[in-house]
Amino acid sequence: MSVATQDTAIRTGRVTRTLIYLVLVLFALFYMLPLYVMVVNSVKPLEEITGGGMMNLPVVFTLEPWAKAWSSAQIGVEPTGLSPYFWNSIKMVVPAVAISTVLGALNGYVLTKWRFKYDTIVFGLILFACFIPFQIVLIPMAKMLGLMGLAGTTWGLVLVHVVYGVGFTTLYFRNYYAVFPTELIRAAQIDGAGFFQIFWRILLPSSGPIAVVSIIWQFTNIWNDFLFGASFAGAGSQPMTVALNNLVQASHGVKEYNVHFAGAILAALPTLLVYIVAGRYFVRGLMAGSVKG
């Protein structure tokens, strides 16, 4: 992860150290608890849960709840399971992440290497967009999507996520390019490279790490979004989070907790995988999100 270990000058006694380890392990259990609950209860029959065995390992192991959550659970009125919504999310996330990252990279490049009067103000305007409470744009956005003919569509959601994500991607690339030596840009200018050639040949080949940060951040945020999905998605474009909420909140019939847990894991799996595979970049994005680059 991003924070490097260094030699600490502080020395602690044996008793203190034991206590520290104890506290740390206790909290590790606390953070693991919901995940444990979700996993063990997603592979046991419903009776084991309702019978007071939520914390127990399954007596009878079954993948039935997973299958049901994926392909046959009642979501809204249709017994489709979560799978169509999973693909809705993918169809929304991939273009939104790609577009916002490309825009962020170009913006960061302009804002650091082609500075102009008021560029800080422009950046401030773009950046503040990430921090507004989105309630303030819900009403006009719904109207605008209607005007553009994008109401209830995946592309409408892509547009929304690009607009409100571009501030973060710009922030990442700007902070990254700010420490990229300007002399390299000048050398390339003297060598005769133009605006896009410099970007393509000089800057982009060195942008791997920050592109990963930006992609992971956008992927996590957009995948996990609920507010925009709930407000603007139509029947054919609802993302995974909205579908999961519909599944869990459904008031009719028996509450199939095991199916809910399996569905929750399905919804969490993509971002969780990204976190496990590339946690270092995820943390970097989080840190940069607190503006300090």
Binding site: P181, E183, L184, R186, A187, A188, Q189, I190, D191, G192, A193, Q197, R201, I202, P205, S206
Partner: protein, 370 residues
């Protein structure tokens, strides 16, 4: 008309003028060094020649063509940067030929030019490496190769040696000078290091506060500095500048200087026009190497004065020994041979070569010309 003309050029950021009416004409094949402390405007001026910064007013011409507003790549210049600015994702070979590629030179020609430059700089074996795998000196060579391959009208160097360690810096300095002698190209070179300026240049522009303080050959700058700034900036240790009073003795102008014990010594001027300053205070400039022991005094000098003064500190530096004394109320440094018999706290008789001494007007700080 020169080869490169900087004509009445100024630079402002908003309302702040950072370069004031710079006027320099560089001849073909000249090696001009812009030297000064940081913030003096030397790098700004270089960037303006390169086209990386706009010209607020005035003109810059290369081969009589006005360069204002012309894109850097169309000025037929090449630049070596302080950080070398090698493209990290390209090999040495690609770095060198990137400019040719951008200008649409066909690949066979590019490869030939690259080979020629590589052999000139002896970097053939590095062509396939990435810059990250090179030492400082090698990077420096590659950066020069990238500039040379373009065969430009003017080479611009922006403090190219300041990132090297002391020994390598001296080697590369010699290398650059050799290259200039061999190729006879026109060079504008920025540095804050006065030794680099003295050793490399055919002419020096000493800059401070956005003004060119003096433009001249290294010898002119050293022997006849235009003002106290130039006098103390060029030369190491710096020229001693101390208050003195001009008085006429036996028909000759002399500088009356106060010794450590409050008594006065009389040092005769070589410049006859110092008579005009009789009875007035001036600032006397004496370079450390012109204060020595009797045996080391310049035999060719017609004006050696003597004074006995107390030694405060001695600093043996191997080849020389630096001696500090109090003169005119200031710490004054003398440069002695290493075998001179000097001891802190002892009195010693110094020989001062007054032929080389200069005088400054204390009000304007300009040198009083002979």
């Amino acid at each position: 008309m020169g080869f490169l003309d900087i004509d009445n050029t100024t630079k402002s950021y908003g309302a702040v003028e950072v370069l004031h009416k710079v006027d320099i004409s560089v001849q073909e094949g000249e090696f001009l060094v812009l030297v000064g402390p940081s913030g003096c405007g030397k790098s700004t001026l270089l960037n303006m020649i390169a086209g990386l910064e706009e010209i607020t007013s005035g003109e810059i011409r290369i081969k009589d063509a006005v360069m204002n507003g012309v894109h850097p790549s169309k000025r037929n210049i090449a630049m070596v940067f302080q950080s070398y600015a090698l493209y990290p994702n390209m090999t040495v070979g690609q770095n060198i030929t990137f400019g040719l590629e951008m200008h649409g030179t066909p690949k066979p020609e590019r490869d030939k030019a690259m080979k020629d430059v590589a052999s000139l700089l002896q970097i053939e074996q590095l062509l396939d490496r990435k810059p990250g795998a090179l030492s400082g000196g090698q990077r420096q060579r590659v950066a020069m190769g990238r500039a040379l391959v373009r065969n430009p009208d003017v080479f611009l160097f922006d403090e190219p040696l300041s990132n090297l360690d002391a020994k390598l810096r001296v080697d590369m300095r010699t290398e650059i000078k050799k290259l200039h002698q061999k190729l006879g190209t026109t060079i504008v070179y920025v540095t804050h290091d006065q030794i680099e300026a003295m050793t490399l240049s055919t002419r020096i522009a000493v800059m401070n506060g956005g003004y060119v303080q003096q433009l001249g050959t290294p010898q002119e700058i050293y022997d006849a500095p235009a003002n106290i700034f130039v006098a103390t900036f060029m030369g190491s240790p710096a020229m001693n500048v101390l208050p003195a009073k001009v008085e006429i003795e036996n028909g000759r102008p002399t500088a009356q200087v106060i010794l450590h014990d409050g008594s006065t010594v009389s040092l005769p001027f070589s410049q006859d026009n110092m008579k005009d300053w009789a009875g007035k205070e001036i600032l006397l400039g004496i370079r450390p190497e012109t204060i020595t022991d009797e045996d080391a005094a310049d035999r060719k000098s017609s004006n050696i004065a003597h004074m006995t003064n107390r030694i405060v500190v001695t600093e043996p530096a191997g080849s020389d020994t630096f001696v500090t004394m109090t003169l005119g109320g200031k710490d004054v440094i003398a440069r002695m041979r290493s075998d001179a018999n000097v001891q802190a706290g002892a009195d010693f008789t110094f020989a001062v070569n007054m032929e080389k001494a200069v005088a400054f007007d204390p009000k304007t700080e300009a040198r009083i010309a002979p």
